[in-house]
């Protein structure tokens, strides 16, 4: 059902930009109509790949005490959630492709098809990095209930709100002033959706693209270390009470 809800959101964003680009020759925020609508449609696929995640259930698993069932099994807890995450993305991707085709026939937007192999490869790399960054973000945030069990639901909600706006899920981040963009670029969020789509659209030069991929790797490393540290500390403080 959340796929249907996702489609409503795409509808809102599509018509918003469709109105702004009613004059097809118009260029706003450095986008022409074709590239902006490609950004909106690209969001369906990239969101399905990056933002559809099962790791947001980690907090609930810990606060309910269900984590103990998995800790007793001879499997890695982190890899278990990563596997669930990836399989969820597979299902969502199938739906996303179907939705894109459906919406394409309903809305008939102009599409920009990227033909540069190097950019497509970089786009794929940035997507893989985004998937891993988002998983680590959600997993690390999901560990907070080790200390504050009742916060599981609230902290996921807060995370979703921040990701929704700072990742470019609602609008391309380059409509914001440059100073605000520079601050956001220091966070991992723009590398989830905005940056991969910028690569696909060919809106970033080679140097900025390489720097962006480098920053994504950096965030991946930082979040990996942070996750490990929080995970081991959480395990030490976990008492499995009520189980």
């Amino acid at each position: 059902m959340w796929r249907v809800r996702n489609m409503f959101q795409i509808f809102l964003v599509f018509f918003l930009w469709d109105t702004i680009f009613a004059n097809s020759q118009r260029i706003v925020f450095g986008y022409d109509r074709q590239k902006m609508l490609t950004y909106i449609f690209g969001l369906i696929i990239v969101r399905a790949l990056v933002l559809s995640s099962k790791a947001n259930e980690v907090g609930g698993d810990i606060s309910r005490g269900d984590i103990i069932n998995l800790l007793l099994k001879p499997i890695s807890y982190v890899k278990y959630w990563l596997t669930r995450d990836l399989s969820s993305k597979g299902i969502n991707l199938i739906f996303a492709v179907f939705e894109t085709i459906l919406l394409y026939f309903i809305l008939r937007p102009d599409f920009f098809l990227q033909g540069n192999i190097l950019l497509l490869l970089s786009f794929a790399t940035s997507i893989v990095l985004a998937i891993l960054i988002y998983f680590l973000l959600l997993f690390t945030i999901g560990l907070v209930p080790f200390w504050v069990p009742e916060s599981a639901w609230g902290i996921s909600f807060l995370m979703l709100v921040v990701v929704e706006f700072l990742s470019g899920a609602l609008f391309p981040l380059d409509i914001l002033p440059v100073s605000v963009q520079s601050i956001i670029n220091f966070t991992p969020f723009p590398y989830l959706l905005f940056f991969p789509l910028q690569i696909y659209l060919g809106k970033v030069g080679t140097l900025i693209m390489l720097r962006g991929i480098g920053v994504s790797f950096l965030w991946l490393g930082v979040l990996w270390l942070l996750m490990r540290s929080v995970w081991f500390k959480g395990l030490k403080s976990y008492q499995a009470y009520g189980r």
Binding site: R5, F8, V148
Partner: protein, 304 residues
Amino acid sequence: MEDRKEVQNLKLRIKYFGFSLVIGTFRAVSKFSFKFENIKELVSRCYYYFKIWLLMSKNSFIVMLEQKKLFFLFLLGKVLRFGFFILFLVFLVKGTENLAGYNSNQVIFFFLTFNLVDIVSQFLFREVYRFRPLLVSGDFDLVMTKPMNALFRVLMGGADVIDFITIPPLLIVLAIVGGGLNPNFFQIFSYLIFIINSLMIAAAFHILVLAFGIITLEIDHVIWIYRDLTNLGRFPVDIYRQPIQGILTYLIPVGIMMTFPVKAMLGLISSWGILFSFSLGILMVILSIKLWNRALKSYTSASS
């Protein structure tokens, strides 16, 4: 040429639909028999239910405030979401100069009005989100045995404290931004009346969800689809192409709920539009109550 003919046809059909709706509403209202013999009894019943609502709201607030950390996280999330969206609108309209012919102040006022209707209806009707557990556990039987209207209990029995806290600052911002649009007294009055109409439609939607819940046990998804549909009213419905704009205005009717109050304040609604909107609001409430009564008859208390 053919396109113009199609639009003319569509407009005629909408007018015919609207005319039938107004006549239907008058018929329905005239058939609606009031149970109360006199005004005094009506006032005393309202006071009785108001006291119950205060008591239930107090209980609901206490439950939420017990979980202070969760309460703070949700409040922060809602404030952040609101702030981010306002920022987005400011920068968007700054860069595009206008949106569907509306300037930046007007677009922000549309968004604030959407929030007002959305937050107030969530504050009042939050209990609808908790109806399913009552149904599947059979605890709804206990609601029906109490000396109060079961619909009132499941519709308004759990006011949301987070929404309650966000309403006063929202009203202040609305007054500031709305004041900048220089409305006259009549325009402000129209705006307020349209907001009441929007809340009536929101109430009708929530009652429909409850009735649908009794019949099918499906509530969670239906209520979220309602929320997503109303979210399409964050911007004036003028941004949508026809026939989606017509559907969103007259059939669903997100436009009447979210866009018409602001249009009324800007003096952009015809007398026909006013008549149509209020007829639809009244008719939806009457129909939703009728459907609820019918749904109650099909309730089997199976799980109790």
